[in-house]
């Protein structure tokens, strides 16, 4: 609604939002008054949410244009923050069971403790106590630093995800390209690949543990991530190559591109957008798979932390580990996006 129209039909416009809002607020109040919270909390929550949306829209329409951007960013940030606040209050008031839903403040404290403490029993720490690096390096040299890195849960997960992702994605791109370019290879592999594609790769983890000489080492863990990434990337790369508009191939041919030039100048860049959407999928899957693997078979890693603190019922630390997984996911996705912008500058608006 523009300010002009608001002025023109002030009364009617005010009614249009104030009336439903009033009704909703009245319902909300009545619900609380009648003690419906316990049985119909979900309905009251929904009504409350609609009220907030209506109010926010009304406020925004009254703002000058240049304040709308900041307002929207404020909403994007303010909503999750107020969710956390509500969580904190509900847990504090005992409406949410703090045993299973510890308030965010406790989770933050737990995260801090996890970061700074060394688990003597497990001989591990969350990020490998980097503040000790100068001291340890002076006393024990390179080996000491390596030991610090090895005690880190974040490093364990990160190295498995990144290692497995790279080991799977690079051949995935190659095979996918070949499948996209060569009909015979495609015919031979497509059915098999599609069949394996739908198999949840975590299901073959037991086999991988048999295959590797050390079933409890890093080998099977990295391999299962690599295999998950491989099929996703190979199939989307193939789709990307096949999806290239024929007219670009003809332009390439008409200007005399050799096979290699065709690949380098037309097919590779033409397929890249779909290749990258495959890589994004593969990265997400890699995180899922590694957390699942660390649940069952690891003594390092963020997935291990989640499961361990669930078993010993230290839920704030379990949530802290969840936060770390989220941070890893966000960080890795941002890294991939950064690479994507570098590799495909033409997609940057």
């Amino acid at each position: 609604m523009t300010p002009g129209s608001a002025r023109g039909a002030g009364g009617a416009a005010a009614l249009a939002w104030a009336l439903p809002l009033g009704v909703l607020l009245a319902t909300l109040a009545a619900g609380f008054a009648l003690g419906l919270w316990a049985s119909a909390w979900w309905a009251l929550l929904g009504i409350g949410f609609v009220c907030v949306v209506l109010l926010a829209q009304e406020v925004e329409s009254r703002l000058a244009l240049r304040w709308r951007g900041p307002f929207q960013r404020g909403l994007a940030l303010g909503f999750p923050l107020s969710l956390l606040l509500v969580w904190e209050l509900l847990a504090g008031a005992g409406i949410l069971n703090p045993r299973w839903f510890p308030p965010p403040s406790q989770i933050a404290v737990a995260l801090w403790e996890l970061t700074v403490t060394f688990d003597r029993f497990n001989r591990s720490s969350l990020i490998g106590r980097p503040w000790l690096v100068p001291e340890v390096a002076a006393e024990q040299g390179w080996a000491g630093v390596q030991a610090l890195v090895r005690e880190s849960h974040v490093w364990a997960t990160l190295s498995r995800v990144l290692g497995g992702f790279l080991i799977g994605a690079l051949p995935g791109v190659l095979i996918g390209m070949v499948m996209g370019l060569n009909r015979t290879v495609r015919m031979m592999l497509d059915a098999t690949m599609s069949a394996i594609y739908v198999l949840p790769k975590i299901a073959i983890f037991p086999i991988l543990m048999l295959v590797f000489p050390n079933p409890f080492g890093e080998g099977p863990k990295i391999a299962v991530v690599a295999i998950s990434a491989f099929f996703l990337v190979a199939i989307s790369t193939m789709a990307g190559v096949q999806g290239i508009d024929k007219v670009y191939l003809e332009a390439g041919r008409n200007f005399g591109a050799s096979r290699w030039q065709m690949f380098r100048h037309v097919i590779l860049p033409g397929a890249l957008p779909i290749v990258f959407s495959g890589l994004r999928l593969a990265l997400g899957t890699a995180l899922i798979v590694i957390v699942a693997v660390e649940f069952v078979r690891a003594d390092r890693g963020v997935g291990f932390l989640i499961y361990y603190y669930w078993q010993v019922l230290v839920t704030p630390r379990m949530y802290a580990a969840l936060v770390v997984v989220m941070a890893l996911g966000v960080g890795l996705t941002a890294l991939l996006q950064w690479v994507e912008r570098r590799v495909m500058p033409w997609r940057r608006n």
Partner: protein, 260 residues
């Protein structure tokens, strides 16, 4: 003058699920060196097919279609300006225009100088480092034209290059195209749906029959050159477009009846 493009009893058949389909039959045409020839005909009569054969993107299944090569073996035979522009979205304007030269192994410095010159000629100097997604349709087609011309082919093939543009942009580009052509006087084969465009640009207008495509009539356009858009207001121009339309009308009706 000698013939640059020769087609004799050319035939093109496509194998389809319903059997063989003849797109071109008994197609005879000669295009002189330095001639600007326009090809019009009802939709589906085989114009693009003929052009693709000339471009080396397809082969005739009978008869003969050839471009008589010039003295310089390094000069490419024919380059296409595609209707859908077909400029590479992943290359900047500069690298798009330099594409043909790069494929031929011309060194970086030289090809970028040549490409830059053509970019100036199509008035895109400000946009050398832009990607196609940042350009309008008319600008993309300018890039496509510059890409073909920078490669300096012996024959320029254009398949409805301005078909997707709005009327004003189209008129401006028609004039620009004529100016560019006056400088080089390359042999051009130009496919279009617009009778006005064909008469305005061409030395001759070839009218094709509905499918299977053959040459129906050839109309000589003796309007003086260099031309600009004012020529379109003359009675001679009207007479010529009338003649083309007379030849075309029945074929378009026939093509439409076949499709119905």
């Amino acid at each position: 003058m000698s013939a640059k493009i020769v087609a004799r009893s050319a035939e093109k058949r496509f194998q389809t699920r319903a059997g063989w389909m003849t797109a071109l039959r008994d197609f005879d045409l000669e295009v002189a060196e330095g001639e600007f020839l326009c090809l019009v005909g009802p939709s589906g009569c085989g114009k693009s097919t003929f052009l693709r054969i000339l471009a080396g993107l397809d082969h005739a299944t009978g008869g003969e279609v050839r471009i008589n090569a010039g003295p310089d073996p390094r000069q490419p035979l024919a380059n296409v300006v595609f209707q859908e522009y077909a400029v590479f979205p992943w290359k900047t304007v500069l690298h798009n225009v330099a594409f043909g030269l790069e494929m031929r192994g011309v060194g970086r410095r030289e090809r970028e100088t040549i490409a830059g010159r053509w970019i100036d000629k199509v008035a895109l100097t400000r946009f050398v480092d832009y990607y196609p997604a940042q350009l309008s349709g008319g600008m993309k087609q300018r890039v496509s034209i510059a890409r073909a011309l920078a490669n300096d082919p012996q024959v320029l093939l254009m398949d409805e290059p301005l078909g997707a543009l709005d009327a004003q942009t189209r008129a401006v580009l028609q004039e620009e195209l004529l100016q560019l052509w006056e400088e080089s006087r390359k042999t051009v084969l130009y496919v279009t749906h617009s009778i006005d465009e064909a008469v305005f640009l061409g030395d001759r207008v070839v009218v094709m029959t509905a499918h299977p495509g053959t040459v129906k009539t050839v109309i000589d356009v003796d309007l003086p050159r260099p031309r600009d858009l004012t020529v379109m207001a003359t009675p001679e121009f009207a007479a010529l477009t009338g003649a083309v339309w007379d030849a075309l009308r029945d074929e378009v009706r026939r093509a439409m009846a076949e499709q119905a």
